[in-house]
């Protein structure tokens, strides 16, 4: 579902390069985890995949489509849940979702059904008409996810979807991701919760300083590095130094 080859990126205002020859690949129809310490380049990688940021060099293929030439098709097939809440805070969830659905050109009837289906699924139906800024952190995260699902993306990309949410919300989100995967969709997600990634992902890639360190099935990686958990593998390959 994803092929990244030798991608470089240095932000204009930045001194250090963010991605320096990153290469990795994930097969179709899997739940993949993109892991790495703060500032490793996870969000940058996702931004390049969905065309928010242009890479300086290298090649990125998403679902067999090239980001350099087929961005519009890619955007139609992927759903991206940004790390920050990308919704209008003064509008209600219903209003936000209606607008986003219309921008995806969904027919009114289908859009209405989808919105009420997902609001129910994520337990937001009672608060559908409340402004997003009056939501709790967990509710915002869930609304943020729904906004990326309305157009039935083949590949769902989530940047730290479980950051800062309580156990109940997190379980709800993870349960949904498993379900969505079972329905035949691909999922790429980032997280700092390695235990969660270990349980959820079929495939993980650990990156740091804009380079791939290791990649593979969590169990296989644990075996290879003779560790008892993915977290130990992570610490083993990225070191114990604190990141800026």
């Amino acid at each position: 579902m994803l092929l990244i080859h030798d991608v470089h990126k240095t932000y204009r205002q930045a001194v250090e390069p963010t991605l320096q020859g990153l290469s990795l690949q994930f097969p179709r129809h899997c739940i993949a985890g993109l892991l790495g310490p703060n500032g490793a380049g996870k969000t940058t990688t996702i931004s390049i995949i969905c065309g928010l940021v242009n890479a300086d060099g290298g090649q990125v293929e998403v679902l067999g489509l090239d980001t350099a030439t087929q961005l519009a098709q890619i955007k139609q097939k992927i759903g991206v849940v940004p790390q920050s809440i990308a919704l209008y805070p003064t509008l209600s969830a219903q209003e936000n979702l209606e607008y986003i659905g219309k921008l995806y050109r969904l027919p009114n009837k289908i859009l209405r059904e989808k919105i009420s289906h997902y609001l129910q699924l994520f337990g937001l139906e009672k608060n559908a008409h409340k402004a997003i800024r009056h939501y709790s952190g967990g509710m915002r995260r869930r609304a943020n996810i729904i906004a990326s699902l309305l157009h039935d993306p083949e590949l769902l990309i989530l940047d730290e979807p479980t950051a800062g949410v309580d156990v109940q919300s997190r379980n709800m989100i993870l349960e949904f991701l498993r379900d969505y995967h079972r329905q035949g969709h691909s999922i790429l997600y980032t997280s700092h919760l390695l235990e969660e990634a270990q349980q959820l992902c079929e495939e993980v890639a650990i990156i740091d300083h804009g380079r791939l360190l290791v990649q593979g099935n969590p169990a296989a990686l644990m075996q290879l590095h003779q560790c008892l958990s993915l977290e130990q593998v992570f610490l083993h390959v990225t070191g114990r130094g604190v990141r800026d």
């Binding site: 519009a72 209008y88 509008l91 921008l103």
Partner: protein
């Protein structure tokens, strides 16, 4: 459909922005009313106003008396006694200096004698050239001045207009006295003793009066505070639309809703169009609200009603163009700045500056030549120019196409610049 969805979405966002609504509708309305009321006074050019003027007469002769009569029959009330005491020059100066009275006039001793002397000189000169006999007593001219004192706080414009009024009276009184002497002299030469001709009448043989260049109504409109203020401040208020536009753009960028929009394929241009359309409609609505206030509200406040020309279609096109330019400027300000704290003060201040140089505060015609050229830099100038052509000159399309073309030019430049800035931000 996306354009409509964006339009609806902008409306939903705006509906919740109470401060924005107040800013866009109530503030310009208040401003327009206040400005029209305040500026109504100078527009009457002190004509209906009676000024209290302190008066000290050290002369006591006929010239002073004539001047006294002439001035007090006009818009001046001459006061020579304050709290039971007769004024002298020193008391007068003090009262004006402290601001208790706006101005004072001191007539020097001997001006009547001086005028008589001048008249005699002229009469003698005439007799000599006509060969008539008899000579009136005359000596060399001594120059005397009538002293005027103004409250230091008085406006230059008021001073000028009063100085002019008094100068006119003075000239006239002097002329009357000299001519009176002459006609006396002539009468003494003429044995038939015919009745003296009316000097007052002769002096008014030629007068000045303002006539309209266009239709009869226009002359009245020119000196009408509503007619000058409502369109000017409506344009000013319309440009304040940039505050919500720039604010929303920056907020969208900060809050991430812009990111969401950019994740959706091929939606960017329909979204920009939808936003532009919403704000242009909002601007048009706001402008017509101001005009309507000029028409309906101003008469309730004792001001004349706004006359809106007779080319409603040209007016609509003009207003649309102004709203489009303002919106495009908002896009530019929103693209230029990273935070509302930078954009909003800059936006507001830039409008105040552009309006000041563009002739919103004072008519461009009274500015120095350099500033008059500078005015043309301001899009507000061209907006006001077009509206004035429609309202004051009662013009139609033919009179507004040029300023509208210039506004279109501004719009294109603003949109192109903001697009370019947004593009370069992605790197």
């Amino acid at each position: 459909m996306r354009v409509l969805a964006t339009l609806l979405n902008e409306w939903r966002l705006f509906r919740r922005d109470l401060a924005g609504m107040v800013l866009l509708f109530l503030m310009p309305l208040g401003l327009t009313v206040v400005m029209a009321l305040i500026q109504d006074a100078p527009f009457r050019e002190y004509r209906d106003y009676v000024f209290d003027v302190l008066w000290v007469d050290n002369d006591g002769g006929p010239m002073a008396a004539k001047l006294h009569d002439a001035l007090s029959s006009g818009q001046f009330r001459l006061i020579d006694t304050v709290s039971g005491r007769r004024l002298d020059s020193t008391a007068l100066r003090n009262l004006v200096q402290t601001g208790d009275y706006k101005m004072g006039i001191v007539i020097p001793a001997g001006i009547s004698a001086e005028v008589v002397n001048s008249a005699n000189q002229v009469a003698n000169e005439m007799s000599k050239s006509t060969g008539a006999v008899g000579k009136l007593p005359a000596r060399d001219t001594r120059s005397l001045t009538i002293a005027m004192y103004f409250d230091p706080v008085s406006k230059q414009a008021m001073k000028l207009s009063l100085l002019n009024a008094i100068d006119k009276q003075l000239t006239r009184t002097q002329a009357e006295m000299i001519l009176g002497r002459l006609s006396d002299k002539l009468a003494s030469l003429d044995s038939t003793q015919q009745t003296r001709f009316n000097l007052q009448e002769k002096l008014q043989a030629v007068g000045v009066r303002e006539y309209s260049t266009g239709n009869a109504k226009a002359a009245q409109l020119n000196t009408n505070s509503v007619q000058h203020n409502v369109p000017a401040w409506a344009i000013f208020g319309l440009f304040f639309i940039i505050i919500p536009i720039a604010g929303n753009m920056i907020r969208e960028r900060e809050e991430g809703s812009l990111m969401r929009i950019r994740l959706i394929p091929g939606s960017y241009y329909s979204i920009i169009t939808g936003k532009l359309l919403f704000y242009v409609l909002l601007g048009i609505g706001q402008f017509y609200t101001m005009l309507l206030a000029g028409r309906l509200l101003m008469p309730l406040l004792g001001l004349p009603a706004l006359y809106m020309g007779h080319a409603p279609l040209a007016l609509l096109v003009t207003v649309t163009m102004i709203a489009l330019t303002a919106t495009a400027y908002g896009l530019l300000v929103g693209a230029l700045f990273q935070t509302p704290n930078q954009a909003l003060p800059f936006g507001a201040l830039s409008i105040v500056i552009l309006s000041a140089i563009g002739g919103i505060w004072v008519p461009v015609e009274i500015l120095p030549a350099g500033l008059q050229q500078l005015a043309k830099v301001s899009p507000l100038y061209w907006g006001l120019d077009a509206i004035n052509n429609l309202f004051l000159r009662s013009g139609g399309f033919a009179t507004v196409w040029k300023p509208l073309l210039i506004l279109l030019g501004y719009t294109l430049v603003f949109v192109a610049l903001s697009g370019w800035i947004e593009q370069s931000r992605r790197r």
